[in-house]
């Protein structure tokens, strides 16, 4: 008898222990769910402003309509379905089907405007509710169905998470910290005021002030779109930088998308080609090669070399673009006429080691570190792992992969008196200045070398391949360099090219440095003369159009006046 009692008591105790110890946490949560109410207080996401404090994105309220079918009487179903269909434009049959399902909850339409919500509210449809949500609304872009700087800014998904671009990179700063109200409720769901009541205010996200100029951004997008369409190109990008600070003034991609309607957008368009697309820069790289060689004292702009039009390096015969013998030319001529042999000879005179150090100084051996999500780069191999032919091709911009930010930052070294200005987009986070701006800039090459290279680049515009970029009034104050490189596919170079042009203005006191890259252009008539796809025919006119706008908008005057 005693044993039975002990066993029974043991069973009861063990069951009690099970509920009170093992299941304590779960039961506590279940109990709290009945009497404790937790109301999240969302933080307001920070806004984005351009350099002139023009707001680029606004938080707006949108509405979602839901229905509780079990609360809609069968007699009301038709009225409810008709009301929803007429205001929200949804399919009445589908709504009727939902209402007949007898489920507890179903969304009818998500994220529609306040206007529709205002039309729906007075109908007082039984079982229908409105839920307000916050949405990021971006400024309109150049064409219907696009938004300004969409690829750069990214967007915020329905969970409130920033995706792509700045929205993703600065998610923590922009999102802030949500608050909450935690209190007790009685059976009738009334708050028990005397009970424990915790209130934590939300901390709103910080506003970001960008280095971007909305007007220039718009002009860049417009010129780029026109150019890409004219050139029958696959895509194109424009990047403009403030030479002194490294702040990005414009960042345009074409094709782009509508960030206000991201959920109906092809995900491939979200990719930001400026920072995530690597390409072989072509002859634009010659300004880096020649700058390094001049800086090392290996050559001077007026050093004369013989260019027979071909050079054998590491068992490879590498030609100039025109396969012509140019005879005795100086390095200014080499740059103006973009001669590969000259670039290779400069590299060989300087030496592999110094050339590689030069690549490091110009920032090609590491990511640019720009404050935008999704930077992609393909770094060159270590100095001792590069073959002779690779050194040779790298000297004129093939066999090396860069992204546009890296290339522009490198070219900007010339415009910035030899200093490497770290590229960045955010000037201020809330009231804090971007610490990058307070750091001293690295001297990549001497100011004298930068001045010499500037003069050489001016010659490119005045007498070389940069002639189509000349801006009226700035013919003598413009520095630039074209680049056209064939696109390799499966280890073989194809006839498709990346065409680019980099330049700054005015040459002696630059106000901006701009890089334009056009991918796979097919300029009208290029089927007969494929040289029409070159940078001077495709990228340069775009550069010129944008630069003209900047001259007017920023009141830029020539140096020589």
């Amino acid at each position: 008898m005693l044993v039975v009692a002990v066993v029974l008591a043991g069973m009861v105790w063990s069951r009690l222990a099970y509920w009170q110890v093992a299941q304590h946490g779960r039961l506590t949560l279940q109990a709290q769910a009945q009497y404790r109410e937790f109301v999240p207080l969302p933080a307001v996401r920070g806004a984005l402003f351009d350099r002139n404090l023009k707001q680029l994105v606004v938080n707006t309220t949108v509405y979602s309509a839901f229905v509780s079918p079990d609360q809609v009487a069968p007699g009301d179903r038709d009225r409810v379905a008709s009301g929803l269909a007429s205001v929200l434009g949804v399919d009445k049959t589908a709504v009727m089907k939902t209402l007949q399902s007898n489920s507890k909850f179903a969304y009818i339409s998500r994220r529609f405007s306040k206007t529709k919500a205002d039309q729906l509210r007075p109908l007082k449809l039984p079982g229908v509710g409105l839920q307000d949500e916050t949405q990021r609304s971006y400024l309109p872009g150049i064409a219907q169905g696009t938004t300004l700087a969409a690829n750069l800014l990214g967007f915020v998904n329905w969970n409130g998470d920033g995706r792509y671009g700045l929205e993703e990179k600065y998610q923590v700063a922009l999102a802030g910290t949500p608050g909450y109200i935690s209190s007790y409720r009685d059976l009738a769901n009334r708050e028990i005021v005397l009970g424990t009541h915790t209130h934590q205010d939300p901390v709103n996200g910080s506003d970001l002030v960008l280095t971007l100029d909305a007007n220039i951004q718009y002009a860049a997008e417009q010129a780029l779109a026109d150019g890409v369409k004219r050139d029958n190109a696959e895509s194109g990008s424009v990047l403009i930088m403030d030479p002194a600070t490294g702040g990005i003034v414009a960042w345009a991609d074409y094709p782009s998308y509508n960030a206000n309607d991201f959920n109906h957008t092809d995900a491939a368009l979200f990719k930001d080609n400026v920072v995530s697309y690597v390409y072989e820069p072509g002859s634009v790289m010659k300004i880096v090669t020649l700058s390094g060689a001049i800086n090392a004292g290996a050559i001077a702009p007026d050093t004369v070399i013989n260019d027979p039009g071909v050079l054998s390096v590491g068992g490879y015969r590498i030609y100039d673009w025109d396969r012509r013998n140019h005879g005795n030319v100086d390095y200014t001529y080499v740059l103006a006429h973009s001669l590969n042999v000259g670039a290779m000879k400069a590299m060989l005179t300087e030496g592999h080691s110094a050339f590689y150090n030069n690549l490091q100084a110009f920032g090609f051996t590491q990511p640019s570190g720009i404050d935008v999500a999704g930077e992609n780069c393909l770094l060159p191999p270590k100095a001792d792992q590069m073959s002779d032919s690779q050194y040779a091709t790298t000297s004129f911009g093939q066999g090396i992969d860069v992204n546009m930010v890296q290339m522009l930052a490198a070219a900007n070294v010339i415009a910035n008196g030899g200093k490497y200005a770290p590229p960045h987009l955010v000037e201020r986070v809330g009231t804090h200045v971007n610490p990058l701006l307070l750091q001293p800039q690295r001297q990549a090459i001497s100011p004298e070398t930068a001045a010499k290279m500037t003069a050489m680049m001016q010659q490119v515009v005045q007498h070389g391949s940069g002639w189509t970029s000349r801006i009226k009034g700035f013919e003598l104050d413009q520095a630039g360099k074209t680049g056209t490189s064939q696109i390799p596919v499966n280890g073989q170079y194809t006839q498709d090219v990346w065409a680019s042009f980099v330049g700054f203005l005015p040459a002696q006191h630059p106000r901006f440095t701009m890089l334009v890259v056009i991918r796979k252009p097919h300029y009208p008539g290029s089927d007969r003369d494929w040289t029409l796809n070159d940078g001077y025919m495709t990228a340069e006119p775009i550069w010129k159009t944008i630069a003209q706008t900047m001259v007017v908008d920023w009141h830029i005057t020539p140096d020589s006046q």
């Binding site: 309109p140 054998s312 490879y316 007498h463 801006i471 009226k472 001077y536």
Partner: protein, 177 residues
């Protein structure tokens, strides 16, 4: 030397501690409060019995109940008002957001351009000119002699073999102008 004991004695008096004289107990005045007086007077006049007390108690309870109901009604009304005002506030915020977006959009470059175009305005390119100057390079200089490939024969042979085996080895004129 002055010890602490001496100091204590001095403090109490030169002749030592004075005998403790107990004060005569104060006579406590017995007074009756107004409430007590009024209560007893009322009781005397009303001459309430047990039922009377019960009625008074019940009345007090009813008054308290009514008071509670009034307060509860007020609280309920206030909560309704709060809910209504919160809803109104949300709607006003939504409207403000929308107006803010409209305001920002009005200043957007796209809108500005559209309005400018409608008004017949257009961008003009800078019209000032800078006089040309002599350049360092003489472009009229004839180019050099025909290509003279100085590559050794043996290297050409090696390149030809490698080209045949490994595919195209020639880097094309890939960086045209």
């Amino acid at each position: 030397m002055t010890s602490t004991r001496i100091l204590a004695r001095r403090r109490l008096g030169a002749t030592g501690a004075a005998p403790h004289v107990t004060a005569p107990p104060r006579r406590r005045r017995r007074t009756r409060g107004f409430v007590q007086v009024a209560g007893s007077v009322a009781a005397e006049r009303l001459r309430l019995n047990v039922f009377g007390h019960a009625y008074v108690g019940l009345g007090a309870v009813v008054i308290a109940l009514l008071f509670y109901l009034a307060i509860a009604a007020q609280i309920t009304q206030a909560s309704y008002d709060m809910t209504r005002l919160q809803d109104q506030q949300r709607q006003l915020i939504a409207e403000q957001d929308q107006l803010r977006y409209q305001e920002v959009t009005l200043h957007a470059p796209a809108q500005v351009q559209q309005q400018a175009t409608q008004s017949g305005m257009q961008r003009v390119a800078p019209s000032s000119y800078v006089a040309g100057q002599e350049v360092a390079i003489d472009l009229s200089t004839p180019v050099g002699a025909s290509p003279a490939d100085t590559t050794p024969l043996w290297l050409r042979a090696v390149a030809a073999v490698v080209n045949t085996v490994g595919g195209t080895q020639t880097v094309m004129a890939s960086t045209k102008k």
